[in-house]
Amino acid sequence: MADAEDFFLEEKKFKQYCEEFIKHSQEIGDGWEWRTTKDLADGYLSKTHFEVRNRNIPPDLEERNDNTEQMLFTRVEKLYKVPWNLTYERSWYLGTDCYRHKFLICSNMRSRISTVGNAEVLHYLGHYGIETSAVLFEIYGHQVFIVKLFFQGLKCRKIHRSKSLEFISTEGHLCTWQLCPKFGLTESLLTCRLPGMCLGAQGVRYQESLDDSEVAGICATKEVIRYEYHVLYSSSYQVPVLYFRACFLDGRPLTLDEIWKSVHACYQAHLLEGPWDTITQQEHPLLGQPFFVLHPCRTNEFMSSILTESQKQNRHTNYIILWLSTVGPVVGLNLPLSYAKLAPEQNTNPDSVERPLR
């Protein structure tokens, strides 16, 4: 009778499974990456994603199935992230040649380029046939999109009267562009605040100014939350551990209560029985910052039954995929189904081919 102990995950195996996992993630654009500590001694899986939901109303099954919610979410993804399938490259200098601007255009997407001041603006049709306009800047190695959306009532988010645009760079930084009418009516100085930096790009002219009345419809009723997920290895329990944190776009972190309320309805009953055993706030062992953690002490219990089943059927098992698909949904992390169809790199079990009779 197999002991639960037999299903402990060794650190080397953890890294192998993670490598396989990352490879598939890259193939399907699921956004996972492998990060290492400065001393290169330890590594972990990391993913950031944005979630849109109604203000003060936790998402539940019905909302997720609603079509408009889905479409809205996809549009917000376009608003805040660089579409990962852009491929064509072109570069030129803008204004005082302090900054180089790079454009990436997907060759099989219908697109056109127009000039706004000295900047080039890409217009392309995204999913759902939505026309999107974007000016792309590359600043200090961060690719940054300004997206001006003029469709379906979605606008760039505005802040007060300073006519600033807020969006997220591909690195996940919250960036603010502010228009300062310093160089006359037809030219404006754009400043961009990346964390720790403040620099300018000159010469982009906005063809129309946004009125106060044109405040983004999306922000009045919806809120966007940034989730960050890390998978680390615990040598004490010899299992992977899921760390996560969430914050609003203005940087305010979600409290443990707010996280609990956002947990899917069917997991909430379990949480209410013993919340302190399941999700708590802890110090990230590699970064030293507060994260929420899904407790690892029961991992081996449920993994042993899953793994036994899987091995009975002689299927290739990637511990990380099995584990993450089980615990992830509890905190809003879902794995696309294609992970389940992962083919083994090498068949390490020769018996599975022969299936000897015993």
Partner: protein
């Protein structure tokens, strides 16, 4: 054997004289006097500072008060680290009393865990004990205990009751007679200068031949920079509970006698003071 039990008492009853001062930018209705307190090395800041909180809240407007947090010379103090560890790591070679600044506003979300109730401290404390037992005994001893035993460990710490605590904790310090010690030693090594908050690795108390590993062996294995090069001066101190144990000390003995109540050996590597 009696000497060894004395060590347990000395560790439990260690105290640090501390002076708490209210942060100058906090808004008060009248002047806030500093508050002096002897802090138990083995406990946690938010567990033993109720009186400090009450003292300062008396001079503040009610609406100016939110979650309390502590800072030493600009560094927010992590309440989930034992007090003795915080002192050894940040202030051990400075003059006593330890001067801590008290804040009620602008909680540093990026640095500190929240601590809204004693339940949070209890959950953290018990999680550490469970992790330590996972390393020492594959969680067998802690899982065999009843809930009331777990509760007794916590109550012993909370109420500063040595006997009550050790009545249960001694079971966590035992090991099978055929072994020479625990499976792995629960320890964490801290250095204020690194981004990584601590080093924790699997380390066995005995070598394959049966010899006991020492503190020096541990450091050589996981943190070699802490052990001096033969030609250079000793630039760092290795500190546990305010003292520098000899590097020849068996790590199994240290684990049994100088662990904190959470069953971990919290070791600080700090710069050696130049006299």
């Amino acid at each position: 054997m009696t000497d060894d039990k004395d060590v347990l008492r000395d560790v439990w009853f260690g105290r640090i004289p501390t002076c708490f001062t209210l942060y100058q930018d906090e808004i008060t209705e009248r002047e806030a006097e500093p508050y002096y307190l002897l802090l138990p090395r083995i406990s946690y800041l938010t567990l033993v500072t109720d009186k400090v909180k009450k003292h300062f809240q008396k001079v503040m407007r009610q609406d100016e008060v939110s979650e309390i947090w502590f800072e030493y010379e600009g560094t927010p103090l992590k309440w989930h680290y034992p007090i003795g560890l915080l002192f050894d790591l940040h202030a051990s070679n400075t003059a006593l009393p330890w001067c801590i600044t008290v804040h009620f506003k602008n909680f540093p979300e990026k640095d500190l865990l929240h601590c809204h109730s004693k339940d949070v401290i209890e959950a953290h404390f018990m999680a550490c004990i469970k992790e330590a037992d996972a390393l020492k005994h594959k969680s067998q001893v802690i899982n065999e205990m009843q809930k009331k035993d777990h509760k007794q460990l916590w109550m012993g710490l909370q109420n500063d009751k040595f006997e009550q605590f050790w009545a249960i904790n001694r079971k966590l310090m035992e090991y099978p007679p055929e072994e020479n010690g625990f499976r792995y030693i629960p320890f964490r090594i801290y250095q204020a200068t690194t981004e990584r908050p601590f080093i924790q690795k699997l380390f066995r108390p005995t070598a394959s031949g049966g010899q006991l590993h020492t503190l020096g062996d541990l450091l050589k294995d996981v943190c070699p920079s802490a052990i001096t090069p033969e030609d250079g001066e000793q630039k760092t101190q290795v500190m546990i509970h305010g003292i520098e144990p000899m590097l020849e000390t068996p790590i199994q003995w240290l684990s049994e006698h100088m662990s904190y109540p959470d069953n971990f050996l919290h070791i600080s590597i700090i710069p050696r003071p130049t006299d």
